[in-house]
Every structure is written in structure tokens, then in C-alpha cells.
């Protein structure tokens, strides 16, 4: 799951997979703004075949948070 997720995040945010870690947060990445966040969410929903609630979308502001939510839903 990690490799697939890191690649997805890297592709959307235009950063290398090697530079992604679970600690990475929205605040630290300039390209990770509100519009990009929604792009990320739409890709995650499509790739993992899940439907996220608004509350989950708001929570997913770090790689770790994304992993936590996906581990429950996917």
C-alpha cells in the first residue's frame, strides 16, 4: 500500500516518492494547497475505490492521516 500511495501522492503534488514519508504534512509542501488537496482526494477515491466523507477529507492533511483512514476504509 505504501509504495502505491507514495507514488499517487508524488504524481499529484509533483514530488519524488523518495522525498515522501509518513510525517509529510500539507503545511510543509507548497504545492499541497486546497485545490491540489481535492485532486489528491479524487485520485485516492478512484484508486482505492472508496467514498470519503467531508470530515475524513479535512483530516487527511498528512500522509500518516491518509494511511490511517485508508486502512479502515479500503
Amino acid at each position: 500500500m505504501q509504495e502505491k500511495l507514495y507514488k499517487l501522492i508524488g504524481d499529484i503534488l509533483n514530488i519524488r516518492s523518495e522525498d515522501i514519508s509518513d510525517d509529510l504534512t500539507m503545511r510543509e509542501i507548497e504545492t499541497w494547497d486546497s485545490l491540489k488537496h481535492m485532486e489528491l482526494i479524487v485520485s485516492i477515491e478512484r484508486e482505492y475505490d472508496v467514498q470519503l466523507t467531508f470530515e475524513e477529507i479535512v483530516q487527511m492533511q498528512s500522509v500518516q492521516a491518509i494511511k490511517n483512514i485508508l486502512s479502515i476504509k479500503a
Binding site: 485545490l35 481535492m38 485532486e39 482526494i41 479524487v42 467514498q51 470519503l52 466523507t53 467531508f54
Partner: protein, 249 residues
């Protein structure tokens, strides 16, 4: 989008194009709330169209809009369609000649037209879309614009407001697509409404119609049919559809 069972807000739905939009939406099984400043008009509308839900609201005031939208959501619990139709038509050149000399466009009317035609669209959309997003509703926003958005001599405020509405349509379509929300504009040409006849002299209308390929005013029904199409078509977003008898061709 299938219309049956959906919930909509139509602003300025008491008369003209807005009223016909309300009627056609309800014919298709949509539950409709009408937001309008005209309390008497809302009462008449309730008598004419069974089941319509009226909300008195000054759409040019943000706090009024927030309050009315919150009340509407308390009742409807969800919202699928927003039709930003409210607006006022006002015609005055930038400078006109009077017996006293040159008279500039009334600044108060400039502000009022911008507030009613443009600010209201922003206030309604931000308030309603917030609710759609929180519920992950895949909704649609229809902005009623005008062919005057391209610039119409004698309509500084109205043209500027409608051009602004077109820009908001395009901007929001890009921003909200990821949320599953479409944003579409409908730009009527000259239509058979009270406001058209109030804003334009018979002579001016006659001159305009000689230019139009179809040589007639549009009906409110023809415009409302365009709104129904825009709501139904899930591949249509970001664009403003001109329904004008070919006037702008």
C-alpha cells in the same frame, strides 16, 4: 442529473424567467425554494404554484443570505441545484445629455445593480456550495447571465455585473469539479418579460429585433428549458450558453 426528487433554490423566482424556471423544475419533480426580496410576490407565488417554499431574502446582503440558506437547509436537509437568477435590469449611458448639460451615470444605481446581479451570486453560491461540499452532494449551480455580458451600450452596470457572473461560472467550474459540482451559465437574449419592457423603449426593442435572425423576443419558457438541459447534462460545465434567437451570431 435526474431531476425527480431533487431539491433546488431559485433566486428571484417570483416573476419572469425565474418563475418559469420554478414552474418547470417542479413539473419535473424537483422540490423548490424561492429566495426573493418581494414578500408580496412570494405570497402570490405560493398561491399560484402549489408546494413552492418561499424565503424572503435581500440577496444583496450577505448576512440575510446566510440566514436564509441556513433556514432552507434546516428544512430541506440537502440541496442539489442552485439557480442564481435574481437580478435587476437597468439601462443608462455612462454620460447622458440633459437640459443642464452632461449627466453622469448614477453611482447609487451602479452599486445597486452590481450588488443585486453580481454580489448576490457570490453570496448565494458560497453559502450553498459550502453545504453541498460538507454533504458531498454532487450538485449543480446555474448562473443566469445575459448576452449583455459582452458589453451593451447603455448598460454599464448590468454588462459589468453579467461579465462578472460569466467569470465566476468559469472560475467555480474549475474549482468545484473535484467536489463533483458543476457550474454553468445561461445567457438569455431579449425576452418577453416585464423587466425587458421596463428597461427598453419600444423603438429600442424594435431596432434590436431587426438585427436578430429570429426577429422576435424569446419566451421565458425557452430560457427555462435551457436551464433544465444544463441541469440534466452531466458533461456540461464551465460554459455560458447563449439563448438569444441568434442575436450574437
Amino acid at each position: 442529473m435526474e431531476l425527480q426528487g431533487k431539491r433546488a433554490i431559485v433566486t428571484g423566482g417570483v416573476r419572469g424567467i425565474g418563475k418559469e424556471i420554478v414552474r418547470q423544475l417542479m413539473e419535473h419533480g424537483v422540490q423548490v425554494a424561492v429566495f426573493d426580496i418581494d414578500a408580496d410576490g412570494l405570497k402570490s407565488l405560493e398561491g399560484e404554484i402549489t408546494g413552492v417554499r418561499p424565503f424572503e431574502c435581500d440577496l444583496s446582503k450577505y448576512d440575510h443570505v446566510r440566514q436564509a440558506v441556513a433556514e432552507c437547509f434546516d428544512e430541506f436537509q440537502s440541496l442539489d441545484i442552485l439557480v442564481n437568477n435574481a437580478g435587476i435590469l437597468y439601462s443608462a449611458p455612462l454620460l447622458s445629455f440633459s437640459l443642464d448639460g452632461l449627466k453622469p451615470h448614477d453611482v447609487g444605481m451602479w452599486g445597486k445593480v452590481i450588488a443585486t446581479n453580481l454580489d448576490s451570486v457570490f453570496y448565494m453560491t458560497v453559502s450553498v456550495v459550502e453545504k453541498m461540499v460538507m454533504r458531498r452532494t454532487k450538485g449543480v449551480v446555474i448562473n443566469i447571465s445575459s448576452i449583455s455580458a459582452a458589453g451593451n451600450a447603455g448598460q454599464s452596470a448590468y454588462s459589468a455585473a453579467k461579465a462578472g457572473v460569466n467569470a465566476l461560472t468559469a472560475t467555480w467550474a474549475k474549482e468545484l469539479a473535484s467536489w463533483g459540482i458543476r457550474v454553468v451559465g445561461i445567457a438569455p437574449g431579449f425576452c418577453e418579460t416585464e423587466s425587458t419592457h421596463a428597461a427598453m423603449s419600444q423603438a429600442a426593442l424594435k431596432e434590436v429585433l431587426t438585427e436578430a435572425p429570429l426577429k422576435r423576443l424569446g419566451s421565458v419558457s425557452e430560457i427555462a428549458e435551457g436551464v433544465i438541459f444544463a441541469i440534466r447534462n452531466d458533461f456540461f460545465t464551465g460554459k455560458t450558453l447563449e439563448i438569444d434567437g441568434g442575436l450574437t451570431v
